[in-house]
Amino acid sequence: MVSKKVVVTNKTGLHARPASNLVAFCKNYNSKIFLSNGEKKVSAASIIHVLTLGVKTGTELEVIAEGEDEAKAVEEVVKFIEALED
């Protein structure tokens, strides 16, 4: 298991498009990917779960991956979140 923290900085947080794009992006990996806001840990493969985290701009998230490409997955998902716009 590998994990890394990242702060969400895009304006709307993980809402609508950004959340949808993130879920699609996470499907590129064989590892299971999770997001945690400290209170709740959810699967990043589910838009419903990601939305219910209620991630707003400024929220610190932990990206957690388990599987063969876990290191690469965490690194790239964190980068993806950092690069989110709108």
């Binding site: 609508a16 949808s20 699967s43 589910s46 838009i47 419903i48 939305l51 209620g54």
Partner: protein, 561 residues
Amino acid sequence: MMKTYTVAKAASKGIVMGKAFVAVQEDLTADSRSIKDSEREMEWLKFQKAVKDAVEDLRVLAKDSDIFAAHLDVAEDTVLHDSVELKINSENKNAQLALEETVAEIVTMFESLDDEYLRERAADIKDVGKRIMCGLKGIKSNPFEGINEDVIVVAEDLAPSDTANMDFRYIKGFITEAGGVTSHVSIMARSMEIPAFVGVADFRKNVTNEDYIILDAVGKEIIVNPDEETKEVYRKKAAEYKAMKAEFESMNNLPATTTDGRTVELFANVGSIVDVENAVTRGAEGIGLFRSEFLYMENTKFPTEQEQYDAYKKAIETMKHPVIIRTLDIGGDKELSYYKFDEEENPFLGWRAIRISLDLKDVFKTQLRAILRASAYGDIRIMYPMIISVDEFMAANAILQECKEELRRDNIPFNDSIQTGVMIETPAAVLCAEDLAKVVDFFSIGTNDLTQYLLAVDRGNQKIARLYNSFHPAVLRAIRTVIQAGHKYDKLVGMCGEFASDEKAVPILLGMGLNEFSMAASEIASTRYQIRHLNYEHCQALADEICKKSTIAEVREMLEK
């Protein structure tokens, strides 16, 4: 065999023909049956198939819609699938029930979140659930999909979500069992110029999809399975009707002036920005009723100041002439998906229109600020609905004043002398018309509600529909009282109900001195044609005589002459 049905009233005029398309009202409640262990696999496969179909449809729709893109994500979501699978495999629930429960659970989860945006997403989940449920039940989620020949839709009733799904290249007309001339389907049919009959009781039992229908909403007949000869006759009639309409339209760029020189204004009633564009092309000289509700009803939350400002600004820039915006008129039969209204014994006598605005001050201020900001771009006027007293008008204007001061402080431009008027639709407003006339800038008579309240007749109730009649002497005299009161204080009086475009009513209203007639844009050309052939002096005499009549029958008799 050919059969003819006579209908009392057309909701939207025209003559069309096509195959019958009987819309089926679907029951989407889940089957509650438990399943045997041996059926689990089958149920799971059914669910997967339904999801696959939903996803395929959504993928097409998602290409040009963010809403459907979000629906697609939900339909493909693992949480949804896992929960349904669990319910099938460990609780022996059938696929429908598993789906229904799962959707309800996810919706509850979203609705409990402390985030407005996410709470709204609950509606998306419900919609996706509905789509998959349709697949499980083997029914099309859009019953009007795939129609590729001319049809006349026959339905119990048609909701906005139904009409939004229609392809009007093929759907030529409507016949509904429910609804009156003021219901959604009527208003929509008129603005789209789709011939329609509404309130035709039990009509569905007369036709199947194998039948052919001529819908003559000019002569007020429905002909089922006409022979070739009859079809030919109606093809000719349709062509003649078109020619007549063309003649009306030929003088539509001229003012609505009577033969003896009295000019009135012809405005349009609108319920969307598209309607405003349509009003301009159909010769409207202004917007007499901008139903701001659509901004609220076609939304998942109270619309923001910016959203409203954009719409009002677009309206005035498109119209370039007066736009009278009616402030939020909900309650009664109009609800909002995102705001809970208490159950009321008498919704039409309940918490609605200006009463809501004065109570929900923040919501009201958001709207007033948006209107004021847009007023910097042209002659926008404000109209308050359901007013029963001078107090209410003053209270509303006091809030408007607050908004003006806020905008002034922030150096945001607006029209400081923006006109404010009231809709006259309650008996109280009629009786206090002189008092109101002293303080308002204008009146607009809303005959639909005014008739309902004066006669104590629910306008949606089929059983008493025959009592709902704006030619009742009480209604006619009320209209005259209001016009006289307005004129006494030099205030212009308009009308924005269906009555203003009623061919029989126009001469009376003209004679009473009505200044502005506001109607569905599709009625403007024929009303203009009519007014240009009327004599004001004759109409005045007619109005005087009519107001002396004591029964509807006498009024009608006088009008026939």
